[in-house]
Amino acid sequence: MDAGGNTAAPAPADAEDLEATRLFGEEAGDSGGVQKDPPDPGDRDLEETGSKAKDQLPSLLSSLPQSETPSGTCEPWSPTAPRNSPTGGPENGPGGQGGDPSDEDWRSQRKHVFVLSEAGKPIYSRYGSVEALSATMGVMTALVSFVQSAGDAIRAIYAEDHKLVFLQQGPLLLVAVSRTPQSAAQLRGELLAVHAQIVSTLTRASVARIFAHKQNYDLRRLLAGSERTLDRLLDSVERDPGVLLLGAVRCVPLARPLREALGALLQRCTGPGLALSVLAVGGRLITAAQERTVLTECRLDPADLQLLLDWVGAPAFAAGEAWAPVCLPRFNPDGFFYAYVARLDAMPVCLLLLGTDREAFHAMAACRRLVEDGMRALGAIRALAEVAGLYNVPSANAPAYSVQAVGAPGLRHFLYKPLDIPDHHRQLPQFTSPELEAPYSREEERHRLSDLYHCLHARLHSTSRPLRLIYHVAEKETLLAWVTSKFELYTCLSPLVTKAGAILVVTKLLRWVKKEEDRLFIRYPPKYSTPPATSVDQAPHNGFFTGL
């Protein structure tokens, strides 16, 4: 049903709002660094090898004028066959736990992710038991070391309908085997997120030290309990692609005065060594206040913030007050912060206080009581409960909004990331999107939409031929993706929409976002200054508290 054709360039010039924004963004490259390689030194040597191996053309967009060829990847096995497998193909559920590579269920999974040590010791596999996979992982190690022996590094293998992406991070090797239309760069982003997750519990330095000390160490011992977190991370990529794709965090829509009052409250309730205070609900951000010097010296990466949001959203924090070390891999992969996590007033609202002092639990708990008192005084608890309860998403407790709120018929879903925020707001890249509603309620449909978004994203950010605007008529929906200097937007529309209709919808959407932006985004992230935690400072404190 490629009736409308997939015109890439013609701009919808008849819509004034669109016209205005079109003037900007001469290069799609300035997209807020979504595709930028993360500043991870461990990755650099890999990135240098070969020219940027770029993603083959996703089959979905194969009717587009094709000039993009997978240019010089450094691996000898890359005869990029044009993919022609249906993207929304029948899915196997989350089952397939056999783990035996000969097992049909296991083989039919859309995407596998493996983590192994340099010595070939299995650490994590998304599906199946790791034990059953030692032979498979042995093959992966062999491939890597074969290419390594030639002084090169393997980045990806394009097989008929599979992509294999390799990522070496210190003593860890991460491999994705995917038959989704995700580009190799996107898969690499996912692997980096998996690695960041591992680093966040162990730190890069200690992983390196462990393997330097004992090459065949079984890292699963230390990662016990983290597998589920990795599973959740990888699930979320397919169910809710915005976060990783846009490199931004999602905020809870909230009236600006309330959000600012909460931000001011966090600013007031600080203690020595406190670096970051976050209020979140259902893994989404309400507001976050940061220490000023932390900001100027080494800004908080959205990936790190998202990692924290996922972390505090975990059911493990459902009870009591928790105190745990956590590493922010983009901030400093080798050091720990200490995190205090508690639910406020038995609400789904969660407070995270991140500091540098490992003995500051009681000081942080005192901080929490101040925040709680302050919220009660503001009447914020009830307001937040309303926000949390209003949409009544039973599973996630995630407050959100319906796409109906936009009032643009034919619009099914969208991802919107503002790029025109004043400079100091770059500290906190955000995006917004409505809940996925019918027809995207089943996993299969969600995967299809996620695949489509990934394709469009890969096309917009292609290094060889980036685009600014894509109008894509797919089998069951029509999509429009657009990047300017002001925003990056992906919309999913009904399949029967005309091109003119799509432009109208997008215009309406942009107006709506403009009108609602104070509610949808944190416009002015609060900051505070706290004295650094010194042991001299803290010792009497702790003596006092524990001596009670």
Binding site: L222, A224, A319, G320, A322, A324, D334, A339, V341, G547
Partner: protein, 212 residues
């Protein structure tokens, strides 16, 4: 002064209840968090492995006095041991939890005891050995006698519990509370308090490299 368990004894309101710090120790998935949750909130749900440490408080009214438990529920996983060790300090009581269906967890509980012995003077902490998951009696690997024998040889309190069925959970904590109050009486509260403050005021242990 024969009062019911639930009502605070006269005079208790005059001063805040004595605070006792209790740590839950043991290897992974033996039910430490479940015990804490059952005791504090009378709730049971399958929970994920604890991240770091979780902190609960509960005020207990005994016949003679009230006391407040500060319960540190530690993660059983190895990666968090360094941070949990930190919270051993100043503990008044420790529950060494093992899973009666896992011999290995019983052995690990014994090694936790060695850790405790190296950190504390004999008699400084009240230690209870706790065999959890009696609801899985069919899969039992550690007999009641084995546990009891070991506990007696080391002069520990001993009980078997089921957090799932709420069997003996409150009793276990109460037994610890009773023991704590009893020791308090024999040692004398002021003396003990002083001793502990001095302990905490000592030079703070050198913070190890934050990356361990």
């Amino acid at each position: 002064m024969a009062q019911k368990d639930t009502t605070p004894p006269p005079g208790a309101a005059l001063r805040p209840p004595r605070v006792f710090k209790l740590v839950l120790l043991g290897s992974g998935s033996v039910g430490k968090s479940s015990l804490a949750l059952r005791y504090v909130k009378n709730d049971f749900k399958s929970i994920l492995p604890t991240v770091g440490c979780a902190f609960f408080t509960k005020v207990v009214h005994m016949e003679a006095a009230s006391l407040k438990f500060e319960i540190w529920d530690t993660a059983g996983q190895e990666k968090y041991h360094s941070v949990c060790h930190l919270y051993l300090r100043g503990a008044n009581a420790a529950l060494l939890v093992y899973d009666i269906t896992s011999k290995d967890s019983f052995v690990r509980a014994q090694s936790w005891l060695k850790d405790l012995e190296s950190e504390f003077l004999p008699g400084e902490v009240v230690v209870m050995l706790l065999g959890n998951k009696t609801d899985l009696n069919k899969e039992r690997e550690v007999t009641f006698e084995e546990g009891k024998e070991f506990a007696e040889s080391k002069k520990l309190l001993f009980m078997e519990t089921s957090a799932r069925l709420n069997h003996q959970v409150t009793e276990a904590f109460s037994a610890v509370a009773r023991e704590l109050l009893q020791r308090e009486e024999t040692v004398g509260p002021t003396q003990k308090e002083n001793a502990r403050v001095a302990l905490n005021e000592g030079p703070p242990r050198q913070v190890r490299c934050c990356a361990h």
